[in-house]
Subunit: 365 residues, 3 copies
């Protein structure tokens, strides 16, 4: 939605009634109030709409000078006679409002004269191929696809309808993108997987002849990398969202609707279920199974398979509730060690104090 | 080998006898059997060769519908009358077979008309310089080098024979690549090292005037970065393989035949020996020595030098056998704390129960 | 300073007196001695200057064959009659000397004929726009700015005076750079922040319509990524230095003079004070506050706010002094567990040995 930021500067205007219709909210107060833009609670002024999506910001919302607030039903009564938009899920409503206020400014369709296009490519008439893009042979580009500048598309790639590739994306040959995929700058899809045999001390590369395949509505953040499979497909399921600087190894399978946060990494041949969440800087080891709905904590390293629905943290990752207790003890582990030392001394004293008796007792057996 | 994937689609065909000759394997069964391609155990069909490189997939191999299997001598007798290729190291044999089935489809030699080439460059006649490459002055490009599109090569760089740089690689000025080096898209070699003096609270940059030098057959994965040295060379030894999103700081020295997995990081001036393995997301601190053959576990942080041959894990990294035991205790650390608490109560009871006696005993001294 | 490496090869020459003047050092010995270049202690020869910035290299400095040494006052008396430059802060002096010996070789001003420039751009006459750069509409480029090749600058970006963008940098629309900013290759500034609402199991993108704003003299290392804010600005304060492969999430605020080492990551909406140091591979969780001068250890994960001046380590991060003690116990945690087991057995023996007495005692109450 970056290109849409233009609208932000321009100050698009709408009434609360219009915004309510866009996001399915109810208006409390003056539906004719004009909104120039959406801002944070602190930054908002009388002409702005702001929002409360979490109770922890309630005080900031009360202090905010925003002309109107988008809130959930639970907070409807907290703001006196201020103008409100009340939505069941204010965060989802906010997404709708922002999308409507900032429509994507698409460039005109067509292939820029500086683009280098290989043989037998099929580029839809409604697609845009930007300056200095380089396409190999036999590439298919769907309707309304937008390739910004300096995008490299290898031979035999297939790019589904409405996909948007930002500047300097690289697709290695054979990569397949679903519909409405968005790929941010610096992303590399389809580079060789990291697989080596050994000839004595010398690593010998295993040729990587598979592909990368992304489902519909997948989004990939800046400078992330997804390797081609050795033989078949590395697969990212539909609606899965991947943040920046994420590494996905060869042969990995990621289910639909998963969320991979910044700098997460997945080693080769791991399989993630649907709706998995990897927090920032977490990792999953090779050849593991991570079940549906698993959540992996920040900086955690999954070194064994995880059953569906679990939340795990730590290195190696263990169930979060246990990890929390362990981490609490760890923070004062030296005290535990000292307590054990003190106990030892007490017991030694007891043993030597009661020693004769105990010895006597034993002898008396 | 990405460009070779074309062959995969085409269905190159060979007999088991031919494949056996390629990889030095023995044929068990029908050497005339035709193979259309190599596939995984699950995906393979009667026209395909599959393979068993680890005993843990034995059951999957038995179930596979592959027309023939590549196996090691230990598994020769496990498959009844199925056609087999038997190789001492089936993984190495697989590398040979894939390389033979998927020969690299090199483009024609020559400098693309859109390439911008500086002064006094020496580009071998057999080299390929792709669309929109930009070369500085005094660059040397060896025989059969392939620079794909959008490669930036700074002044005074030297690229050895048979090197292959994928789209959007950047070499800062003075970078030196050995023969048969492969560099994947998005890699940056020779950016400034991260060194700062302080002038009060203000960091002052230490100019970085050294270089990056890669040995023969080094491979660098997508979006990795290796910084130039402050004064001399940051060096990666021959046959070392580096995965995606790996960070190598300035002045680092990496020995031959090392393996750096995805998102590993090496801070400035560290020295790694030969055959070192850094697992995914592991790190090595600055100015440390890591001996030959050291293996560093996933997500481990090496914060002190490590002697040759050791395997270390954890943060800070400790010997793996100890780390495993510690991690097992950590996973139930709260129980240990509770046991200590219970012990304390028992001892307190003992002390108070035997207190009079002990006191008496003391008094009796 | 990479482009300056040319001078290094050429062997710029200066006298010790000249170098002393450059960096404010005192000469001890022969001020007329000619220096061809600065090298490390091990590599330096009679024609070279080397340096001692830390006492731990004192022995190496004594062994060095360098013609002259740059040292601090504390080491002035350690080198007999060798020629010395003595500076209060030899590391800062080294920065000055290297900058003077390796002046930046700027290209001629002007816009390369292959650059694609949008409408209404204001490009200063002294700026350089290199081959195949692509600028959107309404871009402002300040005096003496250098955009190397393949730089993408989105619409409405503002680039302050003397900024230097290396090849293949991407600025998304609306990004604002202060003066003397340096951005290394592969950096992506302003890609969409990672924010999603949920519609059932399906993540729904929250449009990101804010910007990225970098203060004066900020430097960003290769392949790092800084996301645009959801609504306002993601801000990096002046003089802050960011290493390679660092991830900065949307809405993050980073104070002046901070240092973010390689592969560090900051999740969305975190706020860092001035002079914060994040060591390599460390991370800061979302919405946290990290006070002025906080130092975060390598591979640490900050999962709660940290008060100004603290040094923290570990996952989750705790004060370093405590972490060190905890880590020491952790390294032998199995021994602690065994000691507790042995204690338990001793106590069990004591309880059963003194059991009757204790029981008697209790009964006697």
């Amino acid at each position: 939605m970056a290109a849409a930021a233009a609208a932000s500067a321009g100050g698009s205007r709408a009434s609360l009634d219009e915004l309510a219709a866009v996001c399915g909210a109810a208006v409390v107060g003056d539906g004719a109030r004009r909104i120039s833009r959406v801002r944070t609670l602190d930054a908002a002024d009388a002409a702005d709409l702001s929002f409360l999506t979490s109770g922890s910001y309630l005080e900031a919302a009360r202090r905010s000078r925003a002309g109107a607030l988008l809130v959930g039903p639970a907070h409807r009564g907290e703001f006196g006679d201020r103008d409100l938009l009340v939505a069941d899920d204010p965060y989802l409503a906010l997404a709708s409002i922002l999308g409507w206020l900032h429509p994507l400014a698409r460039p005109a369709a067509g292939v820029h004269p500086t683009a280098v296009v290989g043989e037998r490519c099929e580029i839809a008439a409604s697609a845009t191929v930007g300056p200095y893009c380089v396409l190999g042979d036999d590439v298919e580009v769907g309707e309304r696809v937008w390739l910004e500048s300096h995008v490299d598309v290898g031979s035999r790639c297939v790019i589904g309808e409405d996909a948007w590739l930002h500047p300097q994306v690289v697709l290695y040959p054979g990569t397949v993108l679903g519909q409405s995929v968005e790929v941010h700058s610096g992303v590399v899809l389809g580079a060789d997987g990291f697989g080596f045999a050994s000839e004595g001390a010398r690593p010998v590369k295993l040729p990587q002849v598979g592909r990368v395949r992304l489902g519909d509505r997948v989004e990939i953040g800046a400078n992330s990398a997804i390797d081609r499979a050795t033989l078949e497909d590395t697969v990212v399921g539909e609606d899965t969202k991947i943040d920046n600087l994420v590494q996905v190894g060869h042969n990995v399978q990621i289910g639909a609707g998963s969320i991979l946060c910044g700098q997460a990494g997945i080693a080769g041949s791991a399989r993630l279920g649907r709706g998995v969440v990897l927090a920032g800087q977490s990792g999953v080891g090779g050849h593991l199974e991570v079940g549906d709905g698993v959540r992996v904590g920040a900086a955690a390293a999954v070194l064994g398979s995880v059953a569906a629905g679990e939340t795990v943290c730590g290195v190696p990752a263990i169930p979060m509730s246990r990890w929390r207790r362990s981490a609490a003890v760890y923070a004062r582990l030296d005290e535990l060690r000292k307590r054990v030392g003190a106990l030892q001394r007490e017991v030694d004293r007891l043993v030597s104090g009661s020693g004769d008796e105990a010895a006597t007792g034993e002898r008396s057996d």
